[in-house]
């Protein structure tokens, strides 16, 4: 593989151009997937024979939890790239993805709590799955706060990268918490190796919602990263040209 590709990948201008071209497609995909998935999940999918209609919360709870966890893994990967290869764009990605991940964790926790009330009879229990998700939220808060507290961006990049990498220890704990400990939480809905335990008319809208959440995550991430790139590179010729065209 040519190294020029790697340099291009790290170039803010290259990212700005390519993300600008992809952004509308991701936006259209996100809106379409989320609209179809929501209507399907809310009105067309059959009720659960045990949980009744409250199970329809799964169509936002599970996608939010998926994105919350994979976003954290993405932060750690970006952290490694930023530490090892000093790629500035990786730090931009880390900084911009953290708040989205925090919001997704918040949604997963809150919808889980609201779902818990009619299903378990309580909003919250201190069991392994719920507690490890709460720790994930605090890890996101820690990364955001650390990045804001250090004014030198190079130092902040190193510190947040290290915290993101160290915090990945929590990800397998979240994943296996339902197997390792006795818990109220139900086991995984989707696994790669087995067929879903739900009928098709229940899991197909869930699949659409998961893809829709990922598409929307990408839209928000690209928008934030493009803005961050404009701020960081504001002295360069190409950013001046971009802003001149826009204003």
């Amino acid at each position: 593989m040519k190294w020029t590709f790697f340099h291009k990948l790290g170039s803010p201008k290259w990212f700005y151009d390519i993300s600008g071209r992809w952004l509308p497609w991701f936006a259209v995909a996100a809106v379409a997937l989320l609209a179809v998935g929501s209507v399907w999940g809310l009105f067309i999918a059959p009720q659960d024979y045990q949980q009744g209609n409250s199970f329809r919360i799964i169509y936002i709870h599970v996608p939010a939890a998926f994105v919350a966890q994979s976003c954290y893994v993405m932060l750690a990967v970006a952290g490694i790239v930023s530490l090892v290869w000093r790629m500035k764009l990786a730090d931009v990605a880390l900084k911009c993805a953290a708040p989205i991940g925090a919001w997704m964790t918040f949604v997963a926790l809150l919808t889980g709590a609201i779902w818990g009330k009619p299903t378990w009879g309580t909003y919250w229990v201190w069991d392994a799955r719920l507690t490890s998700m709460l720790i994930l939220l605090f890890l996101y808060f820690g990364i955001i706060a650390l990045g804001q507290a250090i004014s030198n961006r190079d130092t902040a990049a190193k510190a947040t990268a290290v915290l993101a990498i160290v915090g990945t220890v929590n990800i397998p704990i979240i994943k296996y918490s339902v197997d390792w400990w006795n818990t109220l939480h139900q086991p995984a809905t989707f696994t790669i190796t087995e067929k879903p335990a739900m009928p098709v008319e229940m899991w197909l809208p869930l699949l659409l919602m998961v893809l829709g959440f990922y598409a929307l995550f990408t839209v928000s991430l690209f928008m934030r990263m493009r803005l961050e790139v404009l701020h960081r590179e504001h002295k360069t010729r190409w950013v001046r040209d971009v802003l001149e065209k826009l204003s």
Binding site: N53, A64, W103, F106, T111, L216, V219, S220, L227
Partner: protein, 55 residues
């Protein structure tokens, strides 16, 4: 109960389901609106700065 209100009541679970969907919608919109507004602010500031330079 009429068909429509039955649809929204969801056998007593409606309040849980709809509050979840409403909160999620707000959060998702917020995550796109915030960078969009910040970008517009940046562009406006730039336009103002340019006008000052011209004068």
């Amino acid at each position: 109960m009429s068909g429509l209100s039955e649809l929204f009541d969801m056998g007593g679970h409606g309040v849980y389901v709809w509050s979840c969907y409403a909160i999620t919608l707000v959060v998702l919109v917020l995550n796109v609106a915030q960078p969009w507004l910040a970008r517009r602010r940046l562009v406006n500031e730039e336009a103002r700065r340019r006008r000052r330079e011209v004068m």
